[in-house]
């Protein structure tokens, strides 16, 4: 049996990180914004069937960028975690924090132990309720790094530019239409085309809704909100 070549751990981690970052940079981006009635998720996604944004539990949503099969696996794992936990305790005991920690652990393990790291970033958002509990947004990177974000978050290929743009333009108390327009402008900040409703996948966690807060916004409603209808 030939001996494997020696590669220093430092070099190995660097190579893996670079590989994952390259994979993620190829993909399109997602932005998340808090608005008056909840949390808005806007993804640039030309497919109306393969989702990047989806429902996990009553007040929790998931978004993923990068390799579809990898974040799809993570999404289903998240739904399983949430449903089993909610079934064995109570629905109120399912939290974004526990879920984000599980994602962080899983991605961290994969990054250190597997030959190929996951080329994904995921976001877990939980909307606060009307009586003052805060909304939470967690952003988890390919190596398990976890950050909690306030007011807005961006991930994917051009996340840095988008984040800078949001930093300058975000303000509290926006309505759904205003925050959606801002989100779309943020996504197109690095491109020289304007995004139409056909290029977008949009969903909200709407705290005014009963139990399940997640709601997709269909293209017709989208063009109305963007002011491009008619």
């Amino acid at each position: 049996m030939p001996l494997p070549y020696y590669v220093s751990p430092e070099q190995m981690m660097k190579d893996k990180a670079e590989y994952a970052r390259k994979g993620i940079a190829r993909g399109r981006s997602i932005v998340t914004l808090e608005y008056r009635d909840g949390i808005l998720l806007v993804a640039e996604n030309p497919s109306s069937l393969l989702h990047k944004v989806s429902e996990i539990y009553d007040r929790i949503a998931f978004a993923g960028v990068g390799k579809y099969n990898e974040f799809e696996n993570l999404r289903i794992a998240g739904i399983r975690h949430a449903d089993v936990k909610g079934y064995s305790y109570s629905r109120g005991d399912v939290t974004a924090k526990a879920l984000a920690n599980a994602y962080s652990q899983a991605l961290g393990n994969i990054f250190t132990q597997d030959i190929k790291p996951f080329e994904v970033e995921v976001l877990v958002a939980e909307v606060g309720d009307a009586n003052g509990s805060k909304s939470e947004i967690y952003h988890i990177l390919y190596d398990g790094t976890i950050e909690d974000e306030h007011n807005y978050a961006a991930m994917g290929g051009q996340a840095d530019e988008i984040r800078r743009f949001l930093k300058d333009h975000y303000h509290d108390g926006m309505g759904l239409d205003e925050s959606l327009q801002l989100g779309v402008r943020a996504l197109s900040v690095t491109q020289n085309k304007t995004l139409s409703e056909r290029d977008l996948e949009v969903a909200v966690l709407d705290r005014t809704k009963e139990r399940r807060k997640f709601r997709r916004i269909p293209p017709e409603a989208l063009s109305q909100l963007l002011g491009t209808a008619g």
Binding site: S54, E55, I76, I79, R80, D83, V84, Y87, S88
Partner: protein
């Protein structure tokens, strides 16, 4: 071996089932098993479902009975399964409520994983399988026999299903009732039910049947004017699962009782 592993997603057709997930991961959370119950265990009494013009109506009394005692006066027996279907429970109340909760989670889990709803037929079959899981406990006196009803988007009509303790599934065309007062409720529906009833008439028919069941069956609770407890009524139509407000039910119950007092019928 290796090939098997890579093609795993094709073989794992239970991928979107919550019940199968529990079976794999946490079998102790599954209902069923060998527990035995006597008459002291609370039993739900009468639930019914019937078709009407816009879909289906489900209704149930509010009493749980343990032997000759009232175990609870306020339990709810009609549960929302998802936006377009509901399940009414009769039999041992504990396992039945657990089953309703598991069924709700199953449907929601499927919807979230697949991004699509199960067909009404698929939901009805799944509930049958869950009742079969409970067969061992059912033989020891903890039978659960629900009614399942919903709006079928494909055919655009309301449909209802009844079950036996082995999980046998039978589709009923017009109406059915389940539980200790079910025979009386069915007899009542047999005379009152008509095709294409409007919402109000259908609601009234459902309440008449429940009041008849409470009249004849000691386990079934009638409208309780003293405590202000009235039967539950739910409508399931194209536009979703809807509650009927307590006030409306109260008014209708009072009207039925007043009429019976006046005519001396069923008094």
């Amino acid at each position: 071996m290796n090939e098997d592993h890579r093609l795993h997603p094709f073989h794992d057709y239970t991928n979107s089932s919550f019940v199968e997930l529990l079976r794999r991961q946490s079998p102790h959370l599954l209902p069923g098993g060998t527990a035995s119950g006597g008459p002291e265990v609370p039993h739900g009494t009468t639930v019914l479902a019937m078709r009407y013009r816009d879909g289906v109506i489900m209704a149930g009394d509010r009493q749980a009975t343990a032997g000759y005692q009232v175990a609870s006066r306020r339990i709810e027996k009609i549960f929302k399964a998802d936006d377009l279907s509901g399940v009414g429970i009769a039999g041992a109340a504990g396992p039945a409520m657990e089953m309703a909760k598991l069924f709700q989670t199953e449907l929601e889990h499927y919807e979230k994983v697949e991004g699509d709803n199960l067909s009404l037929e698929g939901k009805a079959n799944k509930l049958g399988q869950m009742i079969r899981m409970n067969l061992q406990a059912a033989m020891m006196g903890l039978a659960v026999v629900p009614i399942f009803a919903g709006f079928d988007e494909k055919s655009g009509v309301g449909r209802l299903f009844k079950y036996d303790i082995t999980g046998g599934r039978y589709e009923e065309r017009d109406y059915d009732a389940q539980g200790s007062g079910s025979k009386d409720a069915r007899d009542s529906l047999k005379k009152l039910w008509k095709r294409d009833m409007g919402r109000d008439e259908a609601m009234r028919t459902a309440l008449e049947a429940l009041i008849d069941a409470a009249d004849e069956d000691v386990g079934t609770g009638g409208p309780d004017l003293v405590r202000g407890i009235f039967p539950t009524v739910k409508t399931i139509t194209r536009s979703g699962y809807g509650d009927v407000a307590d006030d409306e039910i109260r008014r209708m119950c009072e009207a039925i009782l007043a009429e019976r007092t006046k005519t001396g019928n069923g008094g």
